[in-house]
């Protein structure tokens, strides 16, 4: 608050406001001690943290601010069948044992609330504006769509938060990503974020937190905002957020863990103070004209190697920096792609619709619109993996599962699946996929597999034609 003499407080960004609200202590010569409001835990990055607690004889300080689920190594086939991968099974069993021992609530494989950790937080109303949210997963920025400061952490920090509900953190730089204008037909949230990353590169946001703003962001649904925030890490930013507004409050209202009654009114009043003040200064800026965007697709081996779908794959010989030239050349050799040609018409073997980027109900509805009355190309294997059991139930209530199955796509149980290819869902060496996930790194979807990242619309269009397709030709 401003001083009694009426001097105006320094205008702050939402990033600074959320930060300031969570500083527990600041000592000379050390990073700030930051309080964490919500800690999401999953089976892959937590086992060594629980072992650490046991070795030190520590308890979980706030199990009531912690929630666990199994998503990364869990199979997406029928949950009544045994897990064939005994190492994955042991990891899941250990996870549940850890949660029980330390009193952490969890959604196990047979829960109707199980799902990808970044899908279920928002879905259950656990993710709320102004919070600090962490998880041992780099896509934790997804929760930033609610105006939360949400970021991925390593296993040592998972242990810190379990033990103390706090982290040592240095302040990040602030980076405004302003997106103005109306998106054209066939262009969506995934195309905005792939466009941003293609411009700034995968290290462009290192050391920063993004605030996504502008009329194009305001007009997006919460699910679309989550798609954008989700891939902040692909631009190097550990977190990215959108200031809360009525769209946010409408989404959160009435969800199981959302505040109720007078608590709700009090919460909204506080949340309304979060948006960036007029005159607040960001360390960096970028402006994107949404009306100029086309559907985006990646051609290479990192998410910054993206192009408008009609554009040619860039030519390494045009680059002057030798290391950059070698890196692009290496990527094209891995992808086995010629430079100078568009990807349109390139055959694919697999289409994957899922992941914490694009597995929410609106993503499945968008894909189903394309599949309706069409058949999957016989040369393509199509996996549709809902982000959570709740998304799955909703899709089935709307009959989307029938549309997918009648088209010839595989309708699966919830999990990370072929985004990270830990659970048996994977590409074979040399295969190409169009994937709605977030990473196209070498081998990410299976050793030797080659990934084109794109939107659910582009993925569905490719599924029915069998080749990389500009969805606008099917609309």
């Amino acid at each position: 608050m401003s001083k009694a003499n009426g001097a105006a407080a320094k205008p702050r960004t939402i990033i600074e406001k959320v930060w300031d609200n969570h500083v527990v202590a600041e000592r000379e010569g050390a990073p700030a001690l930051l309080y964490i409001d919500l800690h999401l835990v999953h089976e892959v990055t937590s086992p060594q943290a629980f072992s650490g607690l046991r070795e030190r004889g520590l308890k979980v300080r706030r199990p009531d601010l912690t929630i666990g689920t199994t998503d990364h190594s869990i199979p997406t086939y029928d949950r009544s069948l045994p897990i064939l991968d005994k190492i994955a099974e042991a990891q899941i069993t250990q996870f549940e044992k850890n949660c029980r021992e330390f009193g952490i609530p969890f959604y196990g494989p047979h829960s109707d609330k199980q799902g990808i950790v970044h899908i279920i937080g928002p879905e259950q109303g656990l993710t709320q504006p102004g919070m600090t949210v962490v998880c041992g997963d780099s896509h934790t920025a997804t929760h930033g769509a609610f105006g939360a400061l949400a970021f991925g952490i390593g296993t040592s920090q998972v242990e810190h938060v379990l033990a103390a509900q706090c982290l040592l953190q240095n302040r990040s730089k602030t980076y405004e990503v302003r997106v103005e204008g109306n998106l054209r037909q066939g262009v969506g949230a995934k195309d905005i974020i792939l466009n941003l990353i293609s411009r700034i590169g995968i290290g462009g946001g290192t050391g920063s937190v993004f605030e996504y703003s502008g009329s194009a962001i305001r007009s997006l649904s919460m699910e679309e905002r989550m798609t954008i925030c989700n891939m902040s890490i692909e631009g190097g930013a550990r977190a990215g957020l959108v200031a809360p507004d009525d769209t946010t409050y409408q989404y959160v209202s009435g969800r199981p863990y959302a505040p109720k009654g007078t608590d709700w009114d009090r919460a909204v009043a506080l949340w309304r103070q979060l948006p960036t003040d007029e005159g607040a200064v960001f360390d960096k800026h970028i402006y994107i004209d949404a009306s100029a965007l086309e559907p985006m697709i990646t051609f290479g081996t990192n998410p910054g190697m993206g192009i408008p779908i009609t554009a040619p794959v860039p030519d390494p010989s045009g680059l002057s920096d030798p290391l950059e030239r070698d890196s692009l050349g290496k990527a094209l050799r891995y992808m086995d792609l010629p430079a100078g040609q568009s990807l349109i018409g390139h055959p694919v073997n697999v289409v994957f619709i899922g992941s914490c980027t694009n597995s929410r109900i609106s993503d499945l509805r968008a894909a189903a619109e394309i599949f309706k009355g069409r058949r999957v190309n016989p040369n393509v294997r199509v996996m549709v993996v809902p982000g959570s059991q709740q998304v799955k139930e909703q899709a089935q209530a709307e009959g989307l599962d029938r549309i997918f199955k009648e088209a010839g796509a595989d309708w699966r149980e919830a999990g990370c699946s072929m985004c990270i290819a830990m659970n048996g869902d994977q590409l074979q060496p040399g295969e190409y996929s169009v994937s709605t996930s977030n990473r196209n790194f070498e081998g990410r979807q299976g050793k030797g597999g080659r990934t084109f990242l794109a939107s659910p619309l582009t993925a569905a269009a490719t599924a029915v034609t069998g080749v990389v397709t500009d969805v606008r030709t099917l609309l």
């Binding site: 060594q48 601010l65 829960s111 863990y257």
Partner: protein
């Protein structure tokens, strides 16, 4: 955590930009519940052929790679996934430091918590290091964390940045958790004034267990 002491070592050059943590340790090796054995899986898909045999021409399979405790990599090292298995694998292989022009945020933080030093150097020093090791694979650098100084093979030196607190932890061989737990009174005082909160236990504890 081990104390980080000054040392001199050969370099293992990997002149590739944007080496992501999926390359450092592929996701399929993350099903482990311990830290054991990750050093053998470091850079697995670059290091072994389809049958799982070491590729004889890959640096880390050669005596020169084995003799180096400093990895020399391209720009933006460690991007992508937050897996701490990446610095675990690098240290288990025998690396104590990695030199690049920049590091991804989460990887850098994870490394410092494992006494593994990410050394960011200016572009000209970075180029000079690649040139030096190309001319002489036995060229050495000296890493002095206390002085934040990297001595190049030609005897010149560059300073590198590091968070002061992380540096102190590494030099003394203590981890951060002890320091955090010392501040329990401040944490409790903060908790006492929190107004909005969720209770994750409200919906029940062990739902849909395996």
């Amino acid at each position: 955590m081990e104390k980080f002491t000054k040392f001199t070592s050969r370099l293992a050059p990997l002149p590739i930009d944007n080496i992501d943590t999926d390359q450092i340790i592929p996701a399929r090796f993350l099903k482990t519940i311990s830290k054991a054995g990750l050093g053998d899986q470091l850079f697995y898909d670059w290091r072994y052929d389809a049958a799982g045999n070491p590729k004889p021409d890959f640096l880390l399979n050669r005596p020169e790679g084995r003799a180096a405790h400093v990895l020399l990599a391209g720009d933006n090292f460690g991007c992508g996934s937050s897996r701490e298995h990446a610095p675990w694998a690098l240290t288990q292989y025998g690396f104590r430091a990695v030199i690049s022009t920049s590091f991804a945020d989460i990887f850098r933080g994870n490394s410092l918590k494992n006494s593994f030093l990410p050394i960011a150097v200016p572009a000209d020093a970075h180029k000079a290091l690649f040139a030096a090791v190309a001319a002489n694979p036995e060229a050495v650098v000296t890493v002095d964390l206390a002085q934040q100084r990297l001595t190049l093979p030609d005897g010149s030196a560059v300073t590198f940045p590091i968070d002061a607190f992380a540096k102190q932890c590494m030099l003394e061989g203590v981890d951060e958790l002890g320091y955090i737990l010392q501040q329990k009174p401040a944490i409790a005082a903060y908790e006492a004034k929190r107004v909005l909160t969720v209770d994750t236990r409200a919906g029940g504890l062990n739902q849909g267990q395996f």
